[in-house]
């Protein structure tokens, strides 16, 4: 039952990815601007432009370009960068693990912190005291802070002033701490906000009143009844955030010079390096879909009432 469900989902992945490839491809081609002019320089003669155009294949019509790209992907190839001539798949294979590492560490910080703050602010809501206001203020602050600025301030404090951590670059765990903390703050805050809303909604339901009426202790009610029922929105938001991290954290990676997918994609977009943009977006979307499939499967373990068709 579960196996056929997973198999069916994985098979559905193929048309889905084909659709995404087509749309991304069409969008990129629809953008004005020609990669050839930026490749050849402004004063290139028409023959050079024609030669480059033939070389990278933009002289053919849209359908045959798309067909060419799909047959390339089918062979596990993502083409070569227009600029460096390096295979895009190889570049992504080098950079994706960095993005993944950053995403995992950031989520390991964001999820527990967000859950704790969410619970505290749900339990303390309605109270006009420090306990009631502080957690909601922290979570509003978390979604309002410009990440690039937070990154710079953390870099200033921990790298330049205290000299504890390296300011930027890609490397061992010490390089990972500052970007991960920077990235985790907005996600942690949004986890806290979603969890708070979900828990407050559940705490107003009749079965909680029953639990209170039969004399259960408050912390049993909050942890065993309310939190457990708020797990589905919680897992969903964690999955979505984690999935979006895998598309690369453009700003965080830019500030800390972290060699990940986000910066690579952005540079590709700005230079109109189409194979790079396509490859990155495809990798990111595939990862995003897989993560959300996994979240779908988790629902069953969280809530046995969930049925897969």
């Amino acid at each position: 039952m579960l196996k056929t469900y997973i198999l069916k989902k994985l098979l559905l992945l193929i048309p889905l990815l084909l659709g995404i490839t087509f749309i991304t491809f069409a969008l990129i081609k629809a953008l004005p601007g020609d990669p050839v002019t930026s490749l050849a320089g402004e004063r290139a003669n028409p023959e050079t432009i024609e030669r480059i155009r033939r070389q990278i294949g933009t002289d053919k019509n849209f359908i045959s370009q798309f067909a060419g790209y799909v047959s390339l992907i089918a062979k596990g190839d993502l083409g070569r960068s227009y600029y460096t001539q390096r295979p895009v798949a190889q570049d992504i294979a080098e950079k994706f693990p960095n993005t993944l590492k950053l995403a995992i560490v950031a989520m390991l910080i964001a999820a527990p912190a967000g859950i704790v703050f969410g619970i505290i602010s749900a339990a303390g809501s309605g109270r006009e005291n420090f306990l009631g206001n502080f957690p909601s203020f922290v979570s509003i602050g978390g979604i309002s802070i410009p990440v690039f600025w937070l990154g710079l301030i953390l870099m200033y404090i921990f790298s330049f002033y205290l000299k504890w951590l390296p300011p930027s670059g890609t490397g061992d765990f010490r390089f990972l701490i500052l970007p991960a903390v920077t990235l985790s703050l907005p996600a942690g805050a949004s986890i806290a906000r979603i969890l708070k809303t979900a828990m407050l909604e559940i705490s107003g339901q009749p079965f909680i009143k029953t639990a209170r009426a039969k004399g259960l202790k408050e912390n049993v009610i909050w942890f065993r009844h309310v939190l457990k029922n708020a797990m589905i929105p919680l897992v969903t938001i964690i999955g979505l955030d984690f999935g979006s991290y895998l598309n690369g954290a453009v700003l965080t990676e830019t500030i800390f010079g972290w060699d990940g997918i986000g910066r690579f994609t952005m540079e590709g977009i700005i230079k109109r390096d189409y194979p790079v943009v396509m490859g990155c977006l495809l990798t990111g979307t595939t990862a995003f879909i897989l993560i959300n499939m996994f979240v779908d499967l988790l629902y069953r373990y969280i809530d046995p009432r969930v049925k897969y068709e």
Partner: protein, 265 residues
Amino acid sequence: MGSKTAIASLILITLASVFAPLLTDYDPIRIDLDSIKEPPSFSHPFGTDNKGRDILSRILYGGRLSIGIAVTAGVISLCLGLTVGLIAGYFGGKIDMALMMLVDLILSFPSLLLAIGISIVFPPGIFTVVIAITAVGWASFARLIRGNVLSLRECAYIDSARALGCSDARIIIKHIIPNCMPLSFIVLGLKLGGYLLTESALSFLGLGAQPPMPTWGSMISLNRIYILSAPWMVIFAGLAIFTTAVCFNMLGDALKDKWEVRIEK
């Protein structure tokens, strides 16, 4: 309590930006080589930058662009999203399917990368930023408003309006749009903080308003290399973004809470 403070601060920040020339004597653009990188003092409360310009004055003038862009993009997104959401939700069928496919497509892309992609199509500047934010932003308005219209469409008073012979246009304008307003303003309130952050992120990446015009994001971007010798050049512009975004988000939360209370009544 908190929401009133937020609204008051928001009004204060906006007024301070609009009336910037009355509040400061310093020119935000003119270079003054006699006062380069001065730390905060009485004459320059937030210090000066590497070209001797008063940071406070640049923040006040920068607010015009930063807040102006966020609000403009928000209002245009709202109008576009409202139109699309109304058409999709009210008429349903194939139009609905096509429009929602477009909306889902936009929402499924990483939004900052999409905004970057759109902003490189046009020459960098204020309008490009507005276009980039709007092009991504209208979709979430459209999706939420469509849902609202779907439930409104089934209400008895819409049926009775139709039975009285009201045209579709009259029903939409007189009955549906006014009932979509609470949701529209809540979403607008919740989104403005995010648009302010997107604007500053695009400016930070060099895709926004171009120097010498100050925006909060570009002030951080241009001054980040001086963070060691003159941290105030970076700190205050970021605080301006942060404070304003907090106010926008608190305003959005307050609107949301207020509206939910009204539903229960």
